[in-house]
């Protein structure tokens, strides 16, 4: 595949895109009411606490929805790939855009159990998900 377009890093999203170095998926969580806040904001919309910080989660989740891309939007984009939204196991309304990897695109399905893997790109570690194998 061709190089990924990388996100610009700021104070709020830095943990999400870098904790993969330690193999950890970082999601912001409210210390007061334990609600996960994503995209990361240092404010809890549920209890109004400002005490919200990144926390490592299990890295498990389920495929909420997905699409298999067939169109070569740019040259060299030849093989079909899967874009998906994955809900984290800890809180179903936290959805992460990602690619599903390490399986054939046709094998991806709704509600499929997946787990995080990371791919290094420059100074960042991009979260991707693969099927959970028993």
């Amino acid at each position: 595949m061709i190089a990924r377009t990388l996100p610009a890093i700021d104070r709020d999203n830095e943990a999400y895109w870098t904790w993969g170095r330690e193999g950890k998926l970082a999601i912001h969580r409210c210390a007061s009411c334990e609600y996960f806040v994503h995209p990361p904001v240092p404010f809890c919309p549920r209890c109004e606490s400002r005490d919200v910080a990144p926390q490592a989660v299990s890295g498990r989740g389920r495929v909420v929805t997905f699409t298999i891309n067939h169109k070569p939007w740019v040259p060299d984009l030849v093989d079909p790939y899967v874009l998906a939204l994955v809900a984290i196991a800890e809180q179903d309304d936290v959805r992460l855009a990602c690619n599903i990897v390490e399986c054939a695109p046709e094998a991806v399905d709704f509600d499929m159990e997946v787990e995080v893997v990371f791919e290094q790109a420059e100074d960042l570690w991009i979260p991707l998900f693969r099927p959970v194998t028993a």
Binding site: M1, A3, R4, T5, L6, P7, A8, I9, D10, N13, H38, P39, V64, T65, F66, T67, I68, N69, H70, K71, W73, V74, L77, Y81, L83, A84, L85, D93, V94, R95, L96, A97, C98, N99, F110, A121, I126
Partner: protein, 394 residues
């Protein structure tokens, strides 16, 4: 119901430039064509225009997505106005209309020129790749969450929602294809449509996949062109040459998370509460609607709107469009009567407003819906964005 500001406004004129897959004039020239046609259609002159609105405002990024803004058009036409506004942070493509209604209610203007210009056909032939991503450049803002995952186009984000809709509704490809096939049939009767050659369900099923479940025929077509409408205060509208097309009700609800990933109901996107708001501002009901110009950036938007406007039940669109008769020009609810954006070109719902008015004024020629249609539902859509208008000709 009279307390709602839209009820004191009406569409009094419409204009459309040449729409093509490669214009022979500039984007600003196309915009001037559409604007002057709309002003003349209303029976007004440039001196009568005292407001301007557009969505999403000028984007000088070479993409052709919105190359002309209020400032350029105001100066080109030397308009002296009491108010203008253009910008993308609005509840979808109709945000410009909703802002104009507010400006009229505030007493800032009486006749607002609203326009939408696109120059994507030329842009894609020249400077601009067909991609949201820029090589070697880090992506900031909300789209950064999608950027690393080869999300080259809105089609991919939308395909996520549509695939879930297919999964939940059980709609079949040959039913989905009725939107593209039916609209092409309408386009054949529209001299200004881009694609007029008939297609069949077999053609649809054989067409290339873009991203499941989207096929090429499910996607609108990038064009060069401009559409313009004049929205006037009702007392002014009643003195002009066309029967006023009243803006009976609007839906601009954004009572959802404003996000392309965290929307609560992915398969219906932001449409249900927008429709709910529109129906709460009128005594009319879905059964009163004569024709519908439903957003068709992708055919699935149209399918979703059939349900969310209440023309059929949740997940009932597959049966409603099965065979295509109900949505045909002589059906119980003619939909996208000019060919829509799929066959007529992407003018982001402003082409649809032009077609709505063309039908309500009885000017649609060979594609004119019989029975003197008087009430038209129109809509926009796209992830967390959506808007709706119910138009009624006096």
């Amino acid at each position: 119901m009279t307390r709602f500001a839209e009820k004191n406004t009406a569409i009094t004129g419409v204009g459309l430039s040449d729409v093509s897959r490669g214009a022979d004039k500039s984007a600003l020239a196309l915009t001037v064509d559409a604007a002057l046609e709309a002003i003349a259609d209303a029976g007004l002159t440039r001196a009568d225009i005292d407001g301007i609105a557009t969505w999403p405002g000028e984007r000088a990024d070479g993409s052709g997505f919105s190359p002309v803004g209020c400032a350029a058009l105001q100066d080109a036409l030397r308009l002296e106005v009491g108010w203008y506004g253009g910008g993308g942070e609005a509840p979808g493509q109709y945000g410009a209309v909703f802002n104009a209604i507010g400006a009229i209610a505030a007493g800032l203007c009486r006749n607002v020129l609203i326009f939408r210009t696109m120059y994507e056909a030329t842009a894609r032939k020249t400077a601009y790749a067909n991609s949201l991503l820029r090589e070697g450049q880090r992506q900031a803002g909300p789209f950064s969450w999608y950027a690393p995952y080869y999300t080259y186009a809105a089609a991919l984000q939308q395909a996520l929602f549509f695939n879930l809709y297919v999964h939940k509704s059980g709609i079949r490809p040959e039913q989905i294809g009725q939107i593209a096939v039916g609209q092409r049939r309408n386009a054949a009767l529209n001299p200004r449509a881009i694609y007029k050659a008939p297609i069949t369900i077999k053609d649809y099923l054989a067409s290339p996949l873009i991203a499941t479940p989207l096929r090429i025929y499910d996607c609108d077509v990038p064009i060069d062109g401009a559409a313009a409408i004049i929205v006037s205060r009702m007392d002014v509208a009643r003195t002009l040459r066309n029967p006023p097309i009243r803006i009976e009700a609007i839906g601009s609800s954004m009572r959802y998370r404003n996000s392309w990933t965290q929307l609560a109901e992915l398969d219906t996107q932001a449409q249900p509460k927008v429709a709910e708001m529109m129906w709460s501002r009128t005594d009319l009901k879905p059964a009163d609607v004569d024709i519908a110009q439903l957003y068709d950036g992708f055919s699935f938007h149209t399918i979703n709107w059939l349900e969310n406007f209440g023309f059929c039940e949740r997940y009932g669109a597959k049966d409603f469009i099965d065979g295509g008769q109900r949505i045909a020009l002589d059906g119980e609810l003619p939909v996208n009567t000019g060919g829509g954006a799929l066959s007529g070109g992407r003018l982001h719902a402003y082409g649809a407003v032009h077609e709505a008015c063309t039908q309500l004024w009885g000017r649609a020629g060979a594609r004119q819906v019989k029975g003197d249609p008087q009430i038209c539902a129109t809509s926009t859509s796209g992830g967390p964005l959506a808007g709706a208008m119910l138009l009624v000709r006096d």
